[in-house]
Symmetry: C2
Amino acid sequence: MAIATTSIPDLCTAARCASRRLAAVDTDVKDAALHAIADALIARAPEIIAANQLDMAAGREEEIGAALLDRLSLDPARIETIVAGVRTIAALPDPVGEVIEGRRLANGLDVRKVRVPLGVVAVVYEARPNVTIDAAALCLKAGNAIVLRGSSIAAHSNAVLVAIAAQAAVAAGLPEGCVGLVAGGGREELAELATQNDTLDLIIPRGGEGLKAALKAVATVPVIYAASGNCHVYVDASADLAAAERVVLNAKAQRPGVCNAAETLLVHKDAAAELLPGMLRLLGEAGVLIRGDEHTLALAGDPPGAVLEPATTEDWETEYLALTLAVRVVGSLDDAIDHIGRYGSGHSEAILTRDAAAVRAFQRGVDAACVYVNASTRFTDGGEFGMGAEIGNSTQKLHARGPIGLRELCTAKYLVEGDGHVRV
Amino acid sequence: MAIATTSIPDLCTAARCASRRLAAVDTDVKDAALHAIADALIARAPEIIAANQLDMAAGREEEIGAALLDRLSLDPARIETIVAGVRTIAALPDPVGEVIEGRRLANGLDVRKVRVPLGVVAVVYEARPNVTIDAAALCLKAGNAIVLRGSSIAAHSNAVLVAIAAQAAVAAGLPEGCVGLVAGGGREELAELATQNDTLDLIIPRGGEGLKAALKAVATVPVIYAASGNCHVYVDASADLAAAERVVLNAKAQRPGVCNAAETLLVHKDAAAELLPGMLRLLGEAGVLIRGDEHTLALAGDPPGAVLEPATTEDWETEYLALTLAVRVVGSLDDAIDHIGRYGSGHSEAILTRDAAAVRAFQRGVDAACVYVNASTRFTDGGEFGMGAEIGNSTQKLHARGPIGLRELCTAKYLVEGDGHVRV
């Protein structure tokens, strides 16, 4: 396949050329192209599944394991989910051209700050071939060309998906080169891609800590990293305890393997005796293992409602991503804020309270991408936030913090209009 | 002086602690602290000048040259300019707490994205001691702690300025450690500072290409670089030629040593014969040397109105920062846009035209921080744009593009409020 034999610099240069034209493409053309991609994915699903079966067979032979095989696998239902995602992105408002702010200066110059595409975005990812299409649709909608670098274990699937998307996009009026795929998923390709400073504007990694560390070691192109989520739920003295039980259970157990799940429960000492025995029983029934401080262990009931182990400092630092919850009783709201400031990763933090002053203090005192009042940390997600879709979740402070949606895939420029104005 | 003996990690840790408290300080306290700093600078001007004279004497002994001595020098008038700058920043609106966007989700959750301080900003700079106070005032107003690293040739001046600012700020209610100065201006200190990832959120260099290159080689903390400005003025076929003359002269000659000055003039072939002879004469009278393409040389008049030399490709790539202007005649607006896309540094680009379609095409087709219509490129400046002040000018696409003012010294967080909401 032609896509698979282009060198990385050539692929990125083609994307850069495409990006110049793509920046000026109108929304209705971009949306029609996304629907054309969706239609082509449905029409050519048998090709996709055939290619995926080659990857699956190779994966079985290489004994990559059941979990990885599941992530790699595509079937008609999964293709339909991908297609639905593309159509959802087509329906989102176009961020390009949005006027962010504007004013007339004292000298009569009109200044507008408008959103424009970044240019060329590279997305590096692992086994899941659905990322290929999700990422391409988001980047194209925001007017960016995209260079994809997936895992070698999904090479056949990705090649077919990119070929289908690129052909459909170009046939619908988007420029040649707007979607490219790096041939080869090795570390050499990653290093070469991550240093194409003249043609790439941004790299977004979607994958585990290993991928991020590998990228960090070599990248000279700007990268937005999605850090891990060591998220907390704090139950204040004044909390509605029924709501607290509901939110803690949801934040921990509804989907424990994701970055917005809670890892530590902090309980105000004045709420501990009333909350903890029942809370621990509910968590225990949901299969959650508790790592509690001394105070928590003492309030666990007899017999305790959950499996308990004594917590160490390491527990405060750990993102379990599993059915384990660290629990600590704190003396005050300030102690809770201090604990979160010390151990949190700046992802998603929640308070349960009925006290207006506590709401204000928590919102101001906690430095994180998302700060929740009387709601589960699990809502941190572009889709949930009404941004439509996301390409990741940033815990960095620069450029994007929180879900990375269409607006975050853009930059801005100032347009200044006068009638022969000169500076004095 | 105590400030000068603290280790870099300790200085940065103190700044990090201060930043946590500073983020919650109200605007009126911050503004009062800025006025207190201004008052203290006036009251203690003799100390500042005495310290500056030590630096000046050492500089003369080390023969650093007249230009550097001029940049280093402080006198009562320059101190008053610094003080006026601080009071201007105090009068600006506080970016912290601004609601950037917000909505109520379908499930009743209220989401607001609000501006919050970055945390700790380090500013590394060269000879000019006024940067010490300008940068500190901007960072404090945006709720950030600041760590300064100036040049060793300004060590006495900077130490006194920081001591005065820090004492006045703390006396006015800002937290201890909110303004710190790195002892020593060597490359070792730069490398140590640039790797304090646990405590610094951002580094901003203010200085020449040498400083930026030195920082790029060692920094692991995020940096916003202000690239050079290879800026263009394009005179379209339909331009008002009197306005074009005025704008070109201003863009090139009003202050040629700055990044928003024009370096290349592009002229549509249909305007060249009428514009160029007079334009070159005006530029020649202003002392501008012309590096022209063949077409330009042919239209220079006899005798030519300016000193002319033939241009080479190198001229299209050069930021002269001097009274030299490259001039090229282009066949069309598209050719002008292509030239700018190829050689421009994405800083400030201008078109002179009376044609509405050309305005639109130029604004859409030129990818730069600031795109001007019928106005001089010299307006790219935080003060001119009504942002009040700037700490630099970014030609990066991520986080900040264009003037770096108070808003660009902030990040954002999402505040989400519910009444016991859980994700389903």
